[in-house]
Symmetry: C2
Amino acid sequence: MQPSTAPRRRGRPPKHLAEPRQDTRSLLIRTGVAVLTEKGYSAVGIDEILRQAAVPKGSFYHCFESKEAFGQALIAAYADYFARKLDRWLLDADTPPLQRLRRFIDDATQGMERHGFRRGCLVGNLGQEMGTLPESFRAQLEGVFLDWQARTSACLAEAQRAGEIAHHHDCVALAEFFWIGWEGAVLRAKLQRSAAPLQAYASGFFQLLTT
Amino acid sequence: MQPSTAPRRRGRPPKHLAEPRQDTRSLLIRTGVAVLTEKGYSAVGIDEILRQAAVPKGSFYHCFESKEAFGQALIAAYADYFARKLDRWLLDADTPPLQRLRRFIDDATQGMERHGFRRGCLVGNLGQEMGTLPESFRAQLEGVFLDWQARTSACLAEAQRAGEIAHHHDCVALAEFFWIGWEGAVLRAKLQRSAAPLQAYASGFFQLLTT
């Protein structure tokens, strides 16, 4: 961006000066999340994202120091978006706890259908690619899984208190199991371009809960 | 390769004329499988594989028409190698059927440990990357999963006949569930650089079998 020649004013800067960078940053993050959920990190150059977002290269480096910093921002943005999605379903007090988990699964399935099963999970894609990614992504991605597991585990514990799951179950272990396998189901749904693997996985998981 | 000026002889060609291409092809496949189980397809150029294998570029195109044809050969070679590995464990008539499956899982876990959890599953890696891969890979990869599932399902059916699994279970569905989730476990083990996700997944799966 070129330096402005407008006289400096007190207080909040006018909108056209304050917001462009923030808007560009948001646009790059939205575009980056969309592209990386479909193609992963390694197959995508910054240029492809800039082209899709119609943002010049100079602006990218005003918003992000490097492709690595951009990747970290994408993981953080996706984690935040997904945590809110999980909360929307799993904290819905009007619905019995296990039904909440079913609704989350249905919503995730519809999300994949809407994008023709081309888009998977950004965290799963990057986890799979970890062998070629900046090492700083590892703890960040693992932290996202732990966060999703904690939200899921809280819902399963509610189900247990409500008598929907037997008391011998360890809800933390069940939530971990769910997320380990769910990423495999998302991978397979992308490969088959079908909801069947998501449904097959959910069906087995709910059968496990009845043991 | 340069055309030979040696006089043509009857019968089997001498070893130095007949074998180089086959040897080079095998070497490229071995190297390619090792690199792709670690890094996937998109992040790897042919040049990296040629460098590792110390094979000149001209020789590559004597063995394979294109990177796509090479990818297909790698999937086929990995599928073959893995089918033999599965058979070694799952057809071992001296061992009770469920114990065979446990031994396969232990062997796969040790395999990942041996490579410092850097190498995952070539078929899982490519399934995850399907959004950017040649479309011809899709049916081939899905076929490999169906093959592994059939071998696993046959072992589970033996377990059922031996009374190790209750009769209400559908062994085909259980084998599908196993492979859907197992790929997620391999992904997570690579991310965590730990056997824990493989063990957690196996533990949940065997618990499901006891329902």
